[in-house]
């Protein structure tokens, strides 16, 4: 095997491993669509596995007082995530008014938040397990 082939095989292996990790951990999805004419559309899909790593990289001094506040709620977030993860899939909160519609539901280990208001539609979803890990890293 030539050196080039070895590097190519290594790169392929790393990519495959990365894909496996991403698929296993799921993804954080954020989709915001403003309803105004020429409104902005933000669409993000981030591998959930990167959440705790990104949170770990955030400089502690940048978080300031937020770290203390997150730490205070960390046990609650962890307990809620763990308990929600073992709940059957289904709607948790549904609000329908003439101004907005809100849905929060759990499906397959992830929490989905959907808001449709007069100004914008927002879709956010994240794996429950990764959310707790990310918050833990922010609070450390």
């Amino acid at each position: 095997m030539t050196t080039g082939m070895t590097v190519l095989a290594g790169a392929f292996g790393v990519l495959t491993l990365g894909a496996v990790v991403v698929c296993n951990e799921g993804a954080v999805r954020v989709d915001v669509q403003e309803k105004a004419r020429n409104g902005e559309h933000v669409h993000l899909i981030v591998p959930a596995a990167l959440g705790p790593v990104a949170a770990w990289l955030v400089p502690r001094n940048k978080l300031g007082d937020a770290r203390h506040q997150i730490r205070q709620w960390l046990p609650t977030i962890k307990a809620a995530s763990a308990q929600l993860a073992r709940c059957p899939d289904g709607p948790l909160v549904e609000v329908d008014s003439h101004r907005e519609h809100v849905r929060i539901y759990k499906q397959g280990g992830s929490l989905f938040i959907y808001v449709d208001s007069e100004d914008e539609t927002v879709h956010v979803s994240f794996p429950l397990e990764a959310a707790a890990d990310t918050v833990s890293q922010l609070a450390r």
Binding site: Q72, Q83, G90, V93, D96, S97, H98
Partner: protein, 194 residues
């Protein structure tokens, strides 16, 4: 031998699965009347409340107990009063009839029933013209009420009440119907409100 062991294991697993109690859910449904009325439906597993409540440490809610302002329960030993009513025969213990509303407090089996029904005879013209009659129906198991009062005099033990609620398969707790809102709070084994 191998077959017997496998069969026994499968049977035990099946029995354990059947014997495991299903998760209880508390449902809150608020429906505002009118075509533009807001609708709110909340479904929370009791196990979630049981896991989360002890972790909250705030001024008003700490370790699953809510601080009650003032000295609300100091004058009456509510726990003793509840126990006395629980042991008594089924009956309607309190009846208050006024111009505007009738209030009834009764004991039926293991439940404390509180009913507040608006009295149309004494109501104003506008209220009389309205078809809806304002009613509040509360049904609380004594076990839950006693668990709620199991903390100190100035607190309500919500966590203990939630744990006590977990024993009930299906239970209508609160129903409020008035001209603008329809509120229903109940517990069952379904994870959806409808």
């Amino acid at each position: 031998m191998m077959r017997k062991t496998l069969g026994l294991t499968v049977s035990m697993l099946a029995f354990a699965t059947l014997a495991m109690p299903a998760d209880r859910w508390i449902h809150i449904r608020v429906i505002e009347s009118g075509p533009d009325g807001d609708r709110v439906r909340i479904n929370i597993p009791l196990s979630l409340a049981e896991a989360v409540l002890p972790t909250i440490k705030s001024d008003k809610l700490c370790d699953g107990k809510v601080k009650v302002e003032g000295r609300a329960f100091d004058q009456v030993d509510l726990d003793a009063l509840l126990e006395a009513v629980r042991k008594a025969q089924d009956n309607q213990y309190v009846t208050v009839e006024s111009k505007d509303e009738n209030v009834e407090v009764a004991k039926a089996g293991e439940f404390l029933l509180i009913k507040v029904h608006e009295n149309r005879e004494g109501a104003g013209k506008a209220a009389k013209a309205s078809k809806a009659r304002n009613t509040v129906d509360i049904k609380i198991p004594f076990k839950v009420a006693q668990a709620l009062l199991s903390g100190n005099k100035d607190e309500l033990n919500v966590l203990a009440a939630v744990r006590a609620l977990d024993e009930y398969q299906s239970l209508d707790l609160v129903t409020v119907k008035d001209e603008s809102d329809n509120v229903h709070i109940w517990v069952d084994s379904n994870n959806t409100a409808d």
